[in-house]
Subunit: 387 residues, 2 copies
């Protein structure tokens, strides 16, 4: 087995604590199989209080990871939610004990397609069963239990992280005091499935994908994965944001070159997004996490009624959407809110005005910061955390 | 040179009339070079009247062709605008003489990257200068002149065809009595450039692209081109249309397979769109036509003022947009209308209510059909065609 690529090294020996679960603690997967052994790589920030009542689980998005507020071991960049998580920040590491784990199917140390399959000694590749959002959440629940925490003060996440937060509330209502669902949906739309399928086809069209066995063969479908990332990245930004940031501005030139170079800044930006992504992410993992989103349809597990997923839930909910997010629209958030209302759950809903598109949930958006701070403060009072 | 692929055969010996232009009639290209010789493949429908006043030039969209109302020689399908063009139809072949030519840079017989470069005896590949919308239009103008037509009764087109129609009005105001600009824009937005760049990168990422020389090497970047088409196809449909047509419906199965098969109908549909496209279209042509759109910014050629492009224009304009078209939005059409108003041009503007997205311009949309019929009838009366 070659270990040429940083992303692969991080997949099997991450710079994070790991919780190992052996054959005695298998994970029951949606695909109908038991997964054992498996591992979860995670980070924590802040300190767990004496009665273990101040733990917040943050769920990462599609290509995120456990480094929510710590430097990324491959890119060297600050954690993906540094805007929200830290001392004195809305998700305050001085007050709360923050847990963030790499999702099942990921490539940053939690069991995923780049992990070694103990049955063969080779990377799983596509032999890992297809992972669902519920699988990710059941694995997280085992980690939380391992950490000795009975009830989480909050589970929060944006995008695919919001799906996990929803799934937590549905599967473990008594183990989550509050939930924040940000820029997410209770099911993946046809358009979103379509964009994901384009990404998967781009990966699988790359001859270096080798039917998913590229790690064994010492290659990597970098071009296909870069194209997948480029297509996806367009959906993370609003048309307005692209126009404002780039418009038709040329890249380091005053005239068009009449060639297929990246004449426009937006082309250069996209190419950069694609090429940097492949250094930190595993192509098969991309297939797994996109598939998990596409398969997500919470109502389906409850006889077609989303409200049934939350009936008699004691959890306090906060649902957040962004006006210019066309990937997970406000309409999708309203579907969640209506279901929570129908289930007589406690829910706040905030639509944040911004032109930054889906990516707004990762950014230092004033109203979003204030919403998060306010919701957690209220929940903390209700939980008796500040007294 | 191999001739394995139908699309390539059609590129150099099309089942259409061809106008050849030799070294004495070069085309002055925007790239600053003269192209000669070159050829234009075209179709005509209906009959030119005695005073040659009833000719309509229809301009095709990105991957369209001259077979506007005749069976496509490769796919065997009806012409792409059969809904609008034919006896008794809004663009009435009993009344008008319809011309439609394959665009410069295309692959259906007009000079494009799959055509033989007379200097080398091999296909041009990327040695063909980058083509602009203005180049396409100047080539069409030479064809129209060759056909002995001084003034066109109308130039009409949707999407990239609408850009050509706009460019016609700007370059040759005295040679177009009326113009219909449908689902188009006066310049390509950052988001549209971004989607095109993803498509180009998908093509160029395919190792069978061979730096653009695949025809000489008897291969074809089919997978890359299919991915490009899949990504583009999503942008042609509205989110509502995708939801209505496909939603989360499964493809010939009752349960998800927990695999990377095309479980969802929308996945299957996209894969089909990708795989059928590569049978009829040349990958390098796809690079050229997308680049032509991206380079399009009509105002830039007139000191940044779109109105200046139409000052004192005698042409009658009709601008049409579709409510659910997010590729070329109503806002983009309004920019054109405002410029035409500022130039004191005669303009009608119609926004058609539909959930079918950008593709609506190709479909049998009642209000669109009525708009086209009405606009042409009014123009015909003004031109004295019906008397």
């Amino acid at each position: 087995m070659t270990e040429t690529f940083t992303s692969h090294a991080e997949a099997h020996s991450p710079q994070s604590p790991i919780a190992h679960f052996d054959a005695s603690q298998p994970l029951a997967m949606s695909a109908g199989v038991m997964l054992a052994p498996f591992s979860i790589a995670y980070q924590t920030y802040g300190r767990l209080n004496a009665d273990k009542s101040n733990a917040i689980l943050l769920c990462h998005a599609l290509t995120g990871d456990q480094h929510v507020a710590s430097v990324h071991p491959i890119t060297g960049k600050p954690g993906w939610w540094s805007a929200l998580v830290g001392p004195g920040k809305p998700i305050d590491t001085d007050k709360y004990f923050i847990i963030c784990s790499n999702v099942l199917g990921g490539c940053m140390g939690t069991t995923g397609p780049a992990s070694l399959n103990p049955a063969t000694g080779k990377p799983y590749g596509l032999d890992l069963p297809v992972v669902t959002i519920a699988d990710m959440v059941r694995a997280q629940a085992m980690l939380v239990q391992r950490l000795g925490i009975e009830t989480l003060f909050c589970v929060a996440g944006g995008s695919m992280g919001g799906m996990q937060a929803l799934q937590w509330a549905a599967l473990f209502p008594d183990r989550v005091f509050s939930v924040m669902i940000i820029a997410a949906a209770a099911r993946h739309s046809a358009q979103n499935i379509a964009f994901h399928e384009v990404g998967r086809q781009a990966v699988m069209a790359d001859p270096d994908w080798r039917g998913g066995r590229y790690l064994e063969e010492g290659v990597r479908p970098a071009k296909g994965l870069a194209v997948a990332r480029m297509a996806a990245h367009i959906t993370y930004l609003s048309e307005e944001a692209l126009q404002r940031k780039f418009g038709r501005k040329l890249q380091n030139r005053t005239e068009k070159t009449f060639s297929f170079d990246a004449d426009f800044q937006v082309e250069n930006y996209l190419r950069h997004q694609g090429s940097t992504f492949v250094d930190r992410f595993d192509a098969n993992s991309y297939l797994y996490v996109t598939r998990a989103c596409d398969y997500f349809d919470l109502a389906q597990d409850y006889g077609g009624s989303l409200a049934a997923a939350f009936m008699n839930s004691p959890t306090r909910f906060c649902v957040v959407s962004f006006t210019s997010d066309w990937l997970y629209t406000t309409a999708e958030s309203r579907v969640i809110v209506h279901a929570l209302n129908a289930a007589a759950a406690s829910v706040s809903f905030v639509e944040i005005e911004t032109d930054k598109g889906h990516d707004a949930f990762l950014l230092d958006e004033t109203d979003f910061i204030a919403t998060t701070r306010g919701f957690l403060a209220g929940a903390a009072r209700a939980r008796g955390l500040d007294t």
